[in-house]
Symmetry: C2
């Protein structure tokens, strides 16, 4: 079978982009001849603070990583130089030099609304392969899912007004900023200020001018005129370098030609009303007001509730770091091992961290109006159809099964998903908990296994 | 002059790794023939929650970026395709195709203790160059400084016990995880679980085994024996897959050969005491206990206060995302423009966001015992010596002035800095605010400029 698409965003890291214990376990499995196929599932145990749903994201980068994963000779020489590998046989390093990911992957498409306990992704592969990839898959999907989920809240609060991702300077390094821009778009943002993200992913890019532009000219009006001359159709003037209302009055000189103005400090609600009045009085009813300055979904909701005439929101730090809940605790757990003669279900019993064994499918049920009603997590092997299956086969034997969707398609899917999620489960404050349960069969099978393990 | 070192960690991104408005402003400066040299300074306005000091980090990556910054033809073609650049002349894109950073940089060496208001870095370069680099410099230095500062707190709480950075899976993508590992080492961690970070930066790497290893074997003891056989000198057994105390009793079979055990769930303090007793009774007094599970500086301090016999701490999410304060608000502000006939100081007047004009130096004074007593932020042009100058020239005309220090040298510098910071300013709870003031001269000059600007 020829692969449908080889143009996934290439990962920038090779086989060493993982935790050391993945590689020592790999050496251990290798030394013990443990090449059985194993299944691991990634899921989130609990929703982060303020969240009532997740929006799955990061799959394309995860698949790109799996497609290209390998160890070059320098990387292998580095591993061999580590004291911990002193007693590991040469055969293991030979194995690594030929390493490719040959497994199968099932996953929720990016932009799917998901909940705690539900596998977002399942890997079935020889034990070593499935183990080594854990760290990268978690880091990628945890991060993008966290940002897409945050973006969906911010966009919900903006209630139809455009939200632009502005957070590159506060994201956790440039790489984080770029993938935050991607995930924010999935969550419903209209674009980003990050040009690299625009270039890599075809995202719409937006910008205004900075305070330094205004400061670089002797008079504020000189700065405004000079900018407008170079960007006659796309100037958004930043008003708060010296005095916002005075700057708004200067802005009226441009009349209908001025695309927008930006407020970046002070009492945004009061200033937006005053600036809107100044612009309207000059007949500039089409000139849009963009607001920024540490905005988040709560501040945006408050601004709109106060009637602030803001047309666009630039959201940086709070979005690109998911500041109120800056870590998503997704985990990747062994659920089955396939021996020649049997399939063994696996689960952890650790207090607070016990897991559910067996490969699973997530089923979603809708009400009469097509809205999401409840989800059921069942064993993949169950023949009963519990609704609409959310996990799809995306990779088989290390090859992609389908051309991945474009980012616009993903954003569209996310919009449909969010539209189908009843309001009570997505309000930014006091949302209700969406009903998710395990199938009776899975529940019983797990009880049996627990008993067995506790007796042994 | 030949450059001392060309081996800085190469940046992975080119000229597009910036906010769109930097590039539109660049086009605007170009169209207006604005090629004066300008000085921008990066500083943090306020300390994040729970923090009482910053530990500067990220300079090496910032300098690596500046050294290699350029725009390739694909990147330029992309920019030209954007509607916003429709009216920008071809000359600007020709300029970008030849673009190199030719400016000067002054900075606090990595590992220096710093405080709000103090410039961590100053760029003096032609206006366009200094503008374009803002986003990358902020993103890199904000992030690594945030993590190094957090790590210093965690290490302080561990009070001499080793702290290992374990956060790759929860960091904001793999890139963030790698640079978090670097910054955590600067802050005093003894190493990381992140192999790529070990490989790139020569950091010590650490690991144990995962729950999946134990689950992959039929009996827990089979798993323990198999691992120890492959790693006889460096096995740390993970005890909490099924029953921690039972696993600890199994671990005694390895006697003195067992390097360590790891606790990753439950009541760590109680379990550590029980496990220590089991090990000691078996004569395994040298076998170390490593604890993990969402640890931070507060939990570590509480564990040690409760007498938990933990030898090593694995700290992941809380450290690698700086979860309690996940964004550092460093800003980069224009302070001077050099015209042929004069140097113009620059400042913003925006409420809450007003800045200090003029290029500055930060001076540190010590008390009789060599401990830090107070800092003074003065104009760089002041002839008076206010103490020990913290900002050093690191780049001139785009070339490095010195071979950058190694990470071990940086960590050593940070240790000396932290040792010289009096305890009252670095306790993890209720630390006092370290005294920093502006020089009288700078204060007066700023007042004069404010008056001027408000009158104009």
């Amino acid at each position: 079978m020829s692969e449908p698409d080889n143009t996934l965003t290439a990962p920038r890291y090779g086989g060493l982009a993982t935790d050391l214990y993945q590689l020592t376990m790999a050496a251990g499995y290798h030394a013990n001849g443990r090449h059985e196929r194993a299944s691991f599932e990634m899921f989130v145990r609990r929703l982060p603070e303020n969240r009532s749903f997740l929006l799955a994201a990061g799959l394309e980068q995860a698949l790109g990583y799996l497609r290209h994963l390998s160890f070059n000779q320098d990387e292998i020489a580095y591993l061999r130089s580590l004291p911990v590998f002193a007693h590991v046989s040469r055969e293991f390093f030979d194995y690594l030099s030929e390493f490719r990911f040959t497994g199968d992957v099932w996953a929720m498409p990016e932009g799917t609304v998901a909940f705690p306990g539900e596998p977002l992704l399942r890997v079935t592969a020889p034990l070593i392969e499935a183990q080594i990839v854990e760290t990268f898959l978690l880091s990628t999907i945890n991060f993008q899912t966290m940002i897409a989920s945050k973006a969906a809240r911010v966009v919900e609060a903006a209630n139809g007004r455009g939200v632009i991702e502005f957070g590159a300077r506060r994201a956790h390094g440039m790489g984080a900023g770029i993938y935050a821009a991607r995930a924010a778009f999935i969550g419903g943002c209209i674009g980003t200020s990050n040009v690299e993200a625009g270039y890599l992913f075809g995202l719409p890019v937006y910008g205004t001018a900075g305070h330094s532009w205004t400061l670089a000219f002797e008079k504020e009006m000189d700065a405004f005129r000079a900018y407008h001359q170079v960007f006659p159709e796309s100037t958004t003037l930043l008003l708060d370098t010296y005095d916002t209302l005075q700057a708004a009055r200067l802005a009226t000189e441009f009349g209908l030609q001025l695309r927008g103005v930006r407020l970046d400090s002070g009492d945004i609600s009061a200033l937006a009303k005053q600036v809107r009045a100044i612009l309207d009085e000059a007949g500039m009813t089409e000139t849009r007001i963009l607001a920024s300055n540490d905005l988040d979904e709560f501040k945006i909701a408050d601004l709109l509730a106060a009637g602030a005439p803001v047309d666009l929101f630039g959201v940086g730090t709070e979005l690109s770091t998911s500041r109120d809940a800056p870590a998503l605790g997704g985990v990747y757990k062994l659920v089955e091992v396939e021996f020649p003669d049997r399939v063994e279900p696996k689960m952890k019993l650790s207090r607070e961290k016990a897991t559910y064994p067996y490969r699973k499918q997530v089923w979603r049920n809708r009400d009469a109006e097509g809205k999401f009603a409840n989800d059921i997590i069942a064993m993949a092997a169950e023949t009963e159809q519990h609704g609409e299956p959310l996990l799809k086969a995306v990779m088989r034997a290390g090859q992609l099964l389908e051309t991945p969707p474009t980012l616009r398609e993903i954003q569209q899917h996310a919009k449909q998903q969010l539209a189908a999620l009843p309001t009570q489960y997505k309000t930014i404050r006091d949302a209700k908990s969406y009903p998710v349960r395990f199938s009776d069969h899975l529940f019983e099978q797990r009880m049996q296994l627990m008993k067995q393990l506790e007796q042994s």
